[in-house]
């Protein structure tokens, strides 16, 4: 009986030993193998290509000086994966602002206000609770700035059967920058990432 318990313990220990240990990813120099789905390296690459193209294009250079007010419109996730498109846009928005040519608005956006407190404060101002606050500290009307430019786009996925064992997955990152007053498109870019791997590997 005792021997059985010892054997069970040894098997358990051996099985536990076979499991890969948890390791932190070296985000700066990640030498991990590519995966069929989109991972952070793909978003980094796509975002870098977009940012460089945007800065090089000169579209953010406001005639007469000053900074454009920009909002992020709708970024459609047309892939088979659950993606938060902010994975792409947060980097692009950050770099646009850091370039000194743009200021982003949190008041309006494709998914509504990116900071709900902009609207919450106005609701508060118009509510009975406003009496609890100093009037001059509440946001006045007609203070919000309308965005001049909007960034919109799409992430597409296409799965193609390459051969009996291999699948090809294509990802298209498409972005465009539109002048909201005139409706004219100032800039557009597409970055394609392709992967080929086992049909058994899941890309969603």
């Amino acid at each position: 009986m005792k021997m059985k318990w010892i054997a069970a313990g040894l098997i358990l220990a051996a099985l536990t030993g076979c499991q890969p240990a948890t390791r932190n990813i070296d985000i700066i120099n990640d030498e991990g193998k590519p995966v069929m789905a989109l991972d952070y390296r793909d978003f980094d690459q796509a975002a870098t290509a977009m940012i460089e193209s945007l800065i090089r294009s000169g579209s953010l250079n406001k005639p007469g000086g000053g900074r454009y007010v920009v909002t992020t419109g709708r970024i459609i996730n047309d892939t088979m994966q659950r993606i938060d498109t902010d994975q792409l846009m947060a980097k692009i928005e950050q770099e646009m602002m850091n370039s000194g040519q743009v200021v982003m608005t949190s008041a309006v956006g494709g998914k509504g206000a990116t900071d709900v407190m902009v609207n919450e404060m106005r609701d508060l101002r118009d509510s009975d609770q406003a009496d609890e606050f100093k009037t001059e500290t509440l946001p006045a009307q007609k203070q919000l700035i309308t965005p001049e430019l909007s960034m919109a786009g799409k992430i597409l996925q296409r799965n193609i059967r390459y051969d009996n064992k291999t699948e090809q997955v294509e990802y298209y990152f498409q972005l465009q920058l539109t002048d909201l007053a005139s409706g004219l498109r100032f800039w557009q870019e597409e970055k394609i990432l392709g992967k080929r791997g086992s049909r058994k590997a899941v890309s969603w």
């Binding site: 120099n29 690459q45 975002a47 800065i55 090089r56 000169g58 770099e95 850091n98």
Partner: protein, 145 residues
Amino acid sequence: MKQSAVYAMMMIAVLAGGCGKPSEDERVNIASGVGSDTLLNNIILRPVLKAFSALIGEGIEVKKADLRTNDEGFLELQVSGYNRSYNIRRFDYNVEWVDKDGLVIPTKTGVWQKMSVQPKSNFAILSVAPRKDAADFRMNTRKSN
């Protein structure tokens, strides 16, 4: 016998490399197998050249790095180079931008980017500084996985 075979391969590679005139206009590169075969670069000798190129470790050579300031005041970089190898060379690179004091400018664009270069071909890597205060750059490369 083995030694003489290696010497023969070396001679062929040196001669073929020396005869690496891409086309009448040096701006146009005619890839091996696209243009006409020559005495030293043909369907029989091409595998030998490839093998020898890999054996002696021919690879990427950077010729120059050009910087210019664009109309918006951002530094633009072009790194020009040549793939000496008879094989496609894939590698990663990243560009770090530094300000006038030599401090690295933190940016999301400083990540590893992919590059792929045809055999015996020129290539150019383009990058643009993310801020107007960039004064210089540093580039790193690594073997692609």
